[in-house]
């Protein structure tokens, strides 16, 4: 008999059951994909670095870093090490069909696969084991950012050796492939590489990469600090940290999964409660004929458990491709895997089944309350008319449809809060990402990289590797003057300076470590921003970042010793500043500190400060003039340069669009399912309105406005709370990257018009189409209502 009741229930309440099943599938899909992503993301970088074989400490040297190898050979802190040889090139060395190549950094490495220190992987995650002569593999992202494809011919004009290669594919590079590292690596065959080694003119461009296994990386760092020609030397933890942007994207996916899980369960609870409240009559009748509570309850539990199991299995199957889709952006650079395989997905689906069963058990508790009297009296004891009208038509100045919609929302806030929570959760995440992306694209972060200038020239044609040599100081001074003269001839006199990064050993409290120091060739240290203390005023005064402060255990007023090579200088810390250079591990020197470009690890850009303080519009014009004058591309204003330094706003934009797409899907799905539920519940009211002369258009308007009110409320809430909530989740990420005080940029066009507009519009279309189902309800349906 129970089976028959169940069969009848499934047949008669098809819509509700389909709705419930859909939510079970959604919940299972999101939970299983979300959980798998959690595990993947948490272990992501370690998994990838282990797979590639990146050791505990990594060092990059340029021309003449032999003393590094001597230190490694004799160091008691080194267990073992692997060395890779490479040639340092510039992006100007590359071209395809005469067109120059666009890369984030000017410098690039050319290497072969023989004696590589780490493993490289193809885009299908298989190991890159062999490269044919004439083929070249490039770092992932290289092809898409230059609109190239596999098979294109890449011309490499390096020194006196000109060669053309067929692009065989992209590869995942665990050490240099992250957005923060951003160095392009070109892998060629051993035969092709030998051609470069034969060229004497290329010897100054030789470099090495060391992957060192060590039990004491701190001590090793101290040992390496006096070595010359070291461009980079740090622990694997820093390499991991360089994946912060990739991790942010993965974390966003994770947060999205959590949001979707919450949305699914909130709705699931609503649908189960709603479904049972709709069945009060059947429950009452069963009680009236003597069936016990337990039996009735088990009948419903069986039904929902069956749905949970079917939904759980279907969600598990769909969750695998869905999870892969969500992590797609990150997996282009990394191999994201977990050691648990699909077991995590299985656990996620089982979790949904268990939670759904608990929900069912709790929600079916209401069965106890349903009495035979309720059923017999057709619900006139209050359960059908249990709502309170709190907004009288007398006080309303709204149209009838608008009034009824608003009154519905105010009279039954609980059911609409469910929708508001769902829309809010999805929207706040999208708006947060949009705000972060807009901030990245604005000039708000420029002071976290350098001082704010009018123009930044960052083109490889002008910014050459030759600056980083013993003759670099004179050459840099000469180039700066030349640019100043050129600008004067173009009738836009300006001061041209450049931020240079140096690497020197620093001793504090008896411990010596190698640090990156920043100094501007012409601008004063006092022109930069500081969060605490006062700018260095003398050559023996320095400013440090909070990260350096933590590393050293030093603060304002403490004295440190810096070995500049030519001079050991006792310096006093006078200020704290924030910097995203070197992930915040940087020290700012006074402009007169005794630096030498021979110890430089990077030259950032030529910064141009015009004498006449031009407007933004004028700066844009001048940028074009400079580009034409030098025939270069990489000339930026502050916002563009800041964006160029991070190089992730495009990825973030893609992520925000992906999130918008997912949000829209969820919003549309929730709208359709909830509106269908409401229509089903309100059949008698709709039929009544039609019977007494209300038109279809009125009903559709009433139903649609109700959802519009709810959507606008959730969007407004999301807009209002975007800033504090984004600050809450994003500030720790900025801190990891070295920025301690980020002023977010609220772009009214994105956050008030475009993104909310798209969500609202899609919601309107979804609710209008769904509300059209009310056309099927006719006035004569009032005859069929129990």
């Amino acid at each position: 008999m129970y089976l028959n009741i169940l069969k009848k229930d499934l047949r008669h309440k098809k819509t509700m059951n389909i709705i419930l099943l859909l939510f079970a599938i959604l919940a299972s899909m999101f939970v299983s994909a979300g959980l798998a992503n959690v595990v993947t993301v948490m272990n992501g970088t370690d998994y990838f670095l282990d797979l590639a074989g990146v050791e505990d400490y990594v060092i990059i040297t340029q021309n003449g870093g032999e003393n590094v190898e001597e230190i490694l050979k004799s160091s008691p802190n080194v267990t073992s090490y692997k060395k890779e040889n490479c040639f340092w090139g510039s992006k100007d060395d590359l071209s395809v069909e005469g067109k120059k190549i666009e890369l984030k950094n000017n410098t690039l490495l050319i290497q072969h696969l023989e004696e590589t220190g780490i493993k490289f992987f193809k885009m299908d995650n298989s190991q890159l084991a062999h490269i044919n002569k004439g083929d070249i593999y490039v770092t992932s992202g290289f092809l898409s950012s230059n609109n190239l494809k596999v098979g294109d011919i890449l011309k490499v004009e390096f020194g006196d050796t000109n060669k053309s290669y067929r692009i065989a594919g992209e590869m995942k590079d665990a050490f240099l492939g992250s957005d923060m590292m951003g160095n392009t690596r070109l892998l060629i065959s051993n035969e092709d590489y030998r051609d470069y080694t034969k060229s004497q003119s290329l010897l100054p461009y030789l470099g090495s990469l060391y992957y060192v296994a060590s039990d004491n990386v701190k001590a090793l760092g101290e040992e390496i600090s006096p070595a010359e020609n070291v461009l980079f030397s740090d622990s694997r933890e820093i390499v991991k940290l360089c994946y912060v942007m990739e991790m942010i994207i993965a974390m966003i996916v994770l947060v999205l999964s959590v949001c979707l899980i919450i949305v699914s369960f909130v709705l699931l609870k609503f649908v189960i409660s709603f479904s049972i409240s709709k069945e009060f009559r059947e429950i009452g009748v069963m009680k009236a004929i003597g069936i016990r509570n337990f039996k009735i309850r088990s009948l419903y539990i069986t039904k929902y458990l069956a749905m949970a199991i079917i939904g759980g299995i279907a969600g598990f199957v769909l969750g695998i491709p869905f999870g892969n889709f969500l992590t797609g952006a990150v997996s282009k650079k990394m191999i994201l895997g977990n050691n648990y395989g699909i077991a995590v997905n299985v656990c996620g689906s089982i979790l949904v089944i268990v939670i759904m069963s608990i929900f069912t058990y709790l929600c079916t508790g209401k069965i106890k309350k349903a009495s035979p009297v309720n059923a017999i009296r057709s619900g006139q004891t209050g359960e059908r008319y249990g709502k309170k009208s709190i907004y009288s038509i007398k006080k309303s100045h709204l149209g009838n449809a608008f009034y009824m919609a608003l009154n519905d929302v105010l009279s039954a806030p609980k059911r609409f809060v469910t929708i508001i929570i769902s829309f809010f959760l999805c929207s706040i995440l999208v708006f947060g990402i949009v705000e972060v992306t807009d901030t990245m694209k604005s000039d708000r972060l420029i002071t976290a990289f350098t001082k704010k200038s009018d123009m930044y020239i960052n083109d490889a044609k002008i910014l050459k590797m030759e600056f980083l040599s013993s003759d670099g100081d004179a050459y840099l001074d000469e180039t700066s003057k030349k640019i100043e003269e050129d600008l004067k001839s173009l009738d836009m006199p300006a001061r041209v300076s450049a931020d240079v990064l140096y690497r020197y050993p620093l001793t504090f409290d008896g411990n010596t470590s190698s640090f990156v120091f920043q100094q501007n060739t012409k601008a004063k240290a006092s022109e930069y921003e500081y969060s605490k203390g006062s700018a260095p005023q003398k050559r023996n005064e320095i400013a440090i970042t909070p990260i350096v402060s933590d590393k050293l255990g030093a603060y304002i007023g403490d004295r440190v010793t810096i070995d500049f090579g030519t001079e050991k200088l006792d310096c006093i810390i006078t200020a704290i500043f924030q910097s995203m250079d070197q992930l915040g591990s940087v020290i700012r020197l006074h402009e007169d500190a005794p630096t030498s470009l021979a110890n430089a690890s990077a030259l950032m850009s030529f910064q141009v400060d015009f004498n006449d303080k031009p407007s933004a519009k004028e700066i844009a014009k001048r940028i074009d003039i400079v580009k034409d004058f030098y025939d270069i591309d990489d000339v930026f204003d502050a916002a563009m340069y800041s964006d160029d330094c991070m190089h992730v706003s495009k990825t973030m934009e893609k992520v925000s669009k992906l999130l918008l797409l997912i949000t829209c899907i969820v919003v549309v799905l929730v709208t359709i399912l909830m509106e269908r539920s409401f229509i089903q519940e309100e059949v008698h009211e709709i039929a009544l309105l039609k019977a007494i002369g209300f038109k279809n258009s009125f009903i559709i308007k009433w139903q649609s406005i109700r959802f519009m009110i709810v959507t606008v409320t959730s969007l407004l809430l999301a807009i209002i709370l975007t800033y504090p909530i984004t600050k809450l989740w994003c500030d720790p990420i900025w801190k990891m990257m070295g920025a301690y005080h980020v002023s977010y940029y609220f772009n009214p066009l994105s956050l008030l018009v475009v993104y909310p507009g798209i969500i609202l519009l899609l919601n309107l279309v979804a609710v209008l189409l769904t509300a059209m189902h009310t056309n099927k309800i006719t006035s004569k349906d009032i005859m069929n209502i129990e």
Binding site: Y385, K388, S389, S392, I393, N400, I692, G693, F694
Partner: protein, 252 residues
């Protein structure tokens, strides 16, 4: 008296599982202004179908229904909606109301939707309150629909049906869900409205209720078997007795 409704050869056929069920078979009758007609008959005889067909809520299979000379079977859904909103009133056995509105708001809503006259909103509210006063439910104007008795709720439904001053009031077993006292109150209200000039056509099973009407149509198997005309000079109890005898003759 002028004819307000003229039903000619009205048929209604339902097709269920490819089987035709002729519920109404060439029904003919007229309703004059100020009439109060009861439609009686055994269960399944087609009473309610007749009421919904002549009110335009359900489409007739054939025949015509002339409301003030206009054939409503030829009207579009929107025209029928306008007709029901402005010219007709409806009372149902179940006291359907919008659950989120108060009693007064439920009554006023159709008036606010109607563009029949140029009355302003306060005037419409005033008229709703007058109707409620007349039907003795003014005290529950601001109550929710679950805060009033069944009789009060059905009288509120009558107020709603009357708010747009309809020419014709349809009632489908208006006392069917009420106890004897409440039923009496509701009938009093309907008779009062009829006395004030509203034409009423109602379906009922209750001979006592039908006895309050001027005419009673008895329908069996989709055909009108007979018509009972009340003696307006008789007492209600006499009318009821005569009606019962007439119904017994027809096999009631």
């Amino acid at each position: 008296m002028a004819k307000i409704l003229e039903v000619k050869d009205l048929c209604k056929t339902f097709v269920i599982d490819k089987r035709q069920n002729n519920v109404l078979k060439n029904v003919n009758f007229t309703v004059e202004e100020g009439d109060m007609i009861a439609i009686m008959g055994p269960s399944g005889s087609g009473k309610t179908t007749l009421l919904y067909s002549v009110s335009g809520m359900d489409a007739a299979t054939c025949g015509s229904v002339l409301f003030e000379g206009k054939d409503i079977t030829k009207l579009s859904q929107n025209e029928l909606s306008n007709l029901r909103l402005n010219e007709m009133g409806f009372i149902f056995q179940q006291m359907f109301m919008m659950k989120n509105l108060s009693i007064l708001d439920n009554i006023v809503l159709p008036a606010l939707e109607s563009k029949k006259d140029n009355e302003k909103k306060p005037e419409k509210i005033k008229r709703a309150l007058e109707l409620m006063r007349k039907l003795s439910i003014i005290d529950v104007a601001d109550n929710d629909i679950n805060e009033v008795s069944g009789g009060q709720l059905q009288r509120a439904c009558i107020c709603r049906s009357m708010i747009n001053k309809p020419r014709l009031l349809f009632a489908d077993e208006p006392t069917g869900a009420l106890n004897r006292t409440a039923s009496g109150e509701v009938m009093e209200a309907i008779v009062k409205l009829n006395n004030e000039g509203t034409t009423v056509m109602m379906v009922t099973h209750d001979a006592r209720v039908a006895a309050r009407c001027k005419r009673v149509l008895y329908i069996v198997d989709g055909n009108i078997k007979g018509e009972f005309i009340s003696d307006t000079n008789s007492l209600i109890t006499d009318n009821e007795r005569k009606l019962n005898n007439w119904l017994l003759d027809l096999g009631w």
